[in-house]
């Protein structure tokens, strides 16, 4: 009991009285059923560093939080003492539009950042994501990828600099603020997608993209996934200005007719978009093309599935694009989940609302071995989570990853047990 008091007292003295709490406030920061003993929301990088130093010295474990919209993904933490929220670290630090880069604090919500950038007709080429609260720090820490990955890549491609607080509480820099930079190891790549297991990201510098001059969403119906995927690849081959291809199955669209919908987000100059539309129309035939209203309706389908409380199992599978049709077909045989796929990337997300999650996973894993690739269980029942590694089989280079974790976080302070192989 005495220790409890001293923990919260210590955190309050670090962050300020109102910025550290215990008791009921901690419930909102539970991870996989584990509730932390305290939650702290430092308002400075220094505060983050002191919390980590304190935790690391006293063998208390810390899980960093942004908006929490991606916290359901990960293995069950092996121990969880302090929720360290960076949600208070918001705002742009430096933005000169003509540099086409921006530096902002990690707790800045992507939506808010985009609003600022839009005024200069620029954007962070990421998202949209299901959660409007999603922070840039969280997106980078989870390497969050959206359909626009087709044109712009993932956070690893546009994150050029970071400030990261290490497990032992040092505020460090990686990368820089210029778009080309080969000075030293590219630690930004290491932290991107490391899910709060190596350090706490407090500041980010991004390479930006100009806003497309014109955007237009088209949607087409297909009987089978293979034809839809081939269609997307043909547009890609012809160099069409496409920002994103999103393939949805019947369960994801609620579509009465046809099997699949391919949403095509055209982006570019007006003339280029017109030309793409003509090409698309010629290739597809009128019968397949859905109305503008229908096309818009599917825009939110992925976000709806990602936030639907009825979903009991959600998997993200990455294969070679050429293997995607086979994968989608195989997924459909497992109680027809809602499927959202990015044909040119080879990524599929499947959402189940019914059925025995464990049986589905066993079945999938077997099928999946034949196809090859990687599978991440993004959401599953807690009972199942304690028995599986949500990141799938450990990769061949896992021993190297273990050594990295030991070097960066020897005490196991940061998000212990959450990452691949329960790192």
């Amino acid at each position: 009991m005495v220790k409890e008091v001293s923990l919260i007292g210590e955190l309050q003295s670090i962050a300020g009285a109102g910025l550290a709490e215990e008791g009921p406030a901690c419930t909102a920061f539970a991870v996989d059923g584990l509730t932390p003993r305290a939650v702290v929301r430092p308002s400075t990088y220094q505060g983050v560093a002191e919390v980590l130093r304190y935790g690391n010295t006293n063998r208390l474990t810390v899980i960093p939080w942004g908006a929490g919209s991606m916290m359901q993904t990960g293995n069950r933490p092996s121990k969880y003492d302090i929720a360290l929220s960076v949600a208070g670290l918001t705002g742009i630090v430096e933005y000169e539009p003509a540099d086409l880069t921006v530096t902002c604090r990690a707790g800045e919500p992507l939506v808010a950042l985009q609003e600022q950038l839009r005024r200069s007709r620029q954007m962070l080429p990421s998202g949209p994501f299901a959660s409007r609260e999603a922070t840039v720090g969280g997106i980078v820490a989870t390497a969050g990828a959206s359909a626009s990955r087709h044109a712009y890549g993932t956070p690893r491609d546009f994150t050029i600099g970071m400030q990261v607080v290490t497990a032992d509480g040092r505020i460090t820099r990686a990368g820089g603020k210029v778009v080309k930079n080969v000075a030293g190891y590219d630690l930004c790549k290491l932290y991107t997608g490391s899910r709060g297991t190596l350090g706490v990201i407090v500041e980010l510098t991004f390479k930006l993209a100009p806003q497309p001059r014109h955007e237009q969403r088209e949607a087409l119906a297909f009987d089978d996934a293979a034809t839809a995927c081939a269609f997307a690849r043909e547009l890609e081959r012809q160099g069409m200005s496409v920002k994103a291809f999103t393939l949805l199955n019947r369960a994801a669209t609620g579509l009465p007719r046809g099997g699949y919908v391919l949403a095509v987000d055209l982006a570019g100059t007006q003339a280029a978009v017109n030309r793409c539309w003509e090409t698309l129309s010629t290739l597809a035939g009128a019968a397949q093309q859905l109305s503008e209203a229908e096309a818009e309706r599917y825009a939110g389908a992925e976000a709806e599935l990602q936030t639907a409380a009825s979903v009991t199992l959600e998997c993200e599978i990455t294969v070679l694009p050429s293997d995607l049709p086979v994968l989608i077909e195989r997924l459909g045989e497992t109680l027809e989940p809602g499927i959202v796929a990015y044909p040119t990337i080879g990524l599929a997300r499947a959402f189940w609302t019914a059925g025995d999650a464990e049986a589905i996973l066993t079945d999938l894993t077997a099928a999946f071995r034949k196809i090859g690739g990687s599978m991440l269980v993004r959401r599953c029942p807690p009972s199942l989570k304690s028995r599986i590694d949500v990141f799938g089989e450990v990769p061949p280079s896992f021993p190297l990853m273990q050594r990295l974790k030991r070097e960066f976080d020897p005490n196991g302070t940061l998000s212990p047990g959450r990452f691949v192989g329960r790192l």
Binding site: L100, V178, N181, Y185, G193, R237, N274, L404
Partner: protein
Amino acid sequence: MTAAKRLIRELQSALGRRWVLHAPEDLLVYEYDATIDRALPQAVVLPESAQQVAQAVRIARRYGLPVTARGAGTGLSGGALACEGGVVIVMTRMNRVIKIDAENQLAVVEPGVINLDISKAAAPYGLYYAPDPSSQKACTIGGNIAENAGGPHCLRYGTTTNHVLALEIVTADGEIAEISATQAGYDLTGVLVGSEGTLAIVTKATLRLLHKPEATITLLAIFDRVSEASETVSAIISAGILPAALEMIDKNTMDAVEEFAHCGYPPDAGAVLLIEVEGLSEEAEEQANEVRSICEKFGVRELRTGTDPAERERLWAGRKSALGALGRKAPSYYILDGVVPRTKLPSVLAEVYQACDRFGFAVANVFHAGDGNLHPNVLFDERVPGATARVLELGEEIMRLCVEAGGSISGEHGVGFEKRSYMSWIFSEDDLEVMARLKAAFGAGDGFNPGKVFPTSKGCGEVSSHMRAAIAKAGPGAYV
């Protein structure tokens, strides 16, 4: 038998006699790169497989010798020099394009493949490999990966790191490991790219290929003043146009090029911009028109346009032959590589000229303006006593200008041993300590390419007083 002889014997039995070099006259060929520095290895091996690389690493390790991997030796920061002797592993025999997977837009290649050969192999499928360092006809993909090589078209398409999807590597303990950017866990591939051969040796790479654009338009814009050209660069980026390439050549470079390649540059012009836009023909046209009107706004005196490959090639000729042509201006030059935020380009460039004036050296700038990646080439005569030291001092000052403007000490040539001591200008002790942790995790210690990237007190090979890596012998075969 001495240890040195036993080493050679063991390497020979692993790789075959023919592929182990140890006679002094054979080793000489591998003691240099594109810089003027030299470091003689104890042995050079030319493996033909990852297994042989792994064997060579294990043997060297047993003898406590460092290993330095080497591609074509075109590097500009001393990355391929065996600073502390040991064994140099030359990857040029591992030069197969293993697979072009057109459907998935992938190439699987061995590290000794020449950059341009990847695009040649992909061409029948309408695909190409985007990163195009100026040395792309000679440099190997392994070296590109080690240095995270850039090139003119990185402005739009990103550098090597954005195009490497998976790697096969040999680790310091001589194990072969597969790493991939898409597999679960930490992004080891991303970390390996640009690690300058200090963490592992790449023995196979999976690369992303892109479809060739439908239309490419090259514009050559001639300005009276450098300031007008550099303001045009900022204005293009501000207008929401991201050209495929946006290069600048200054007056000194033009003078040299004109004598050599006869590009028709007016003798009194101050700077030339090469601007390439691409995409669907409609889009390329529209962007080219916008670029033209921006150039006009900033007082362009002449605009040339190239749309077919031959015309475009002619417009690029001056840029491509720039460094070779500088040989006519001076016997030696110091190639610098620094980066600044794009908006700082006009002011930093002005400061670079002032600094060179103050030191009394001519400078020729030919560089990736769209990225803010400067390449001042300081012209001098190495035979003049004290000139080298002065040039190095000037180089350091120019690097400081870049750092003070919020930039970096290298955009694409690497830290190597040349810029180790500058690392502390942009990184704190803690930052460097974290990098050291990464190195420790790979377990390479000083086993792979020692003396590079991190500040140390040791010199490299013959160079002990001062780093002077990128002082190159002027002439053809030099790239920037």
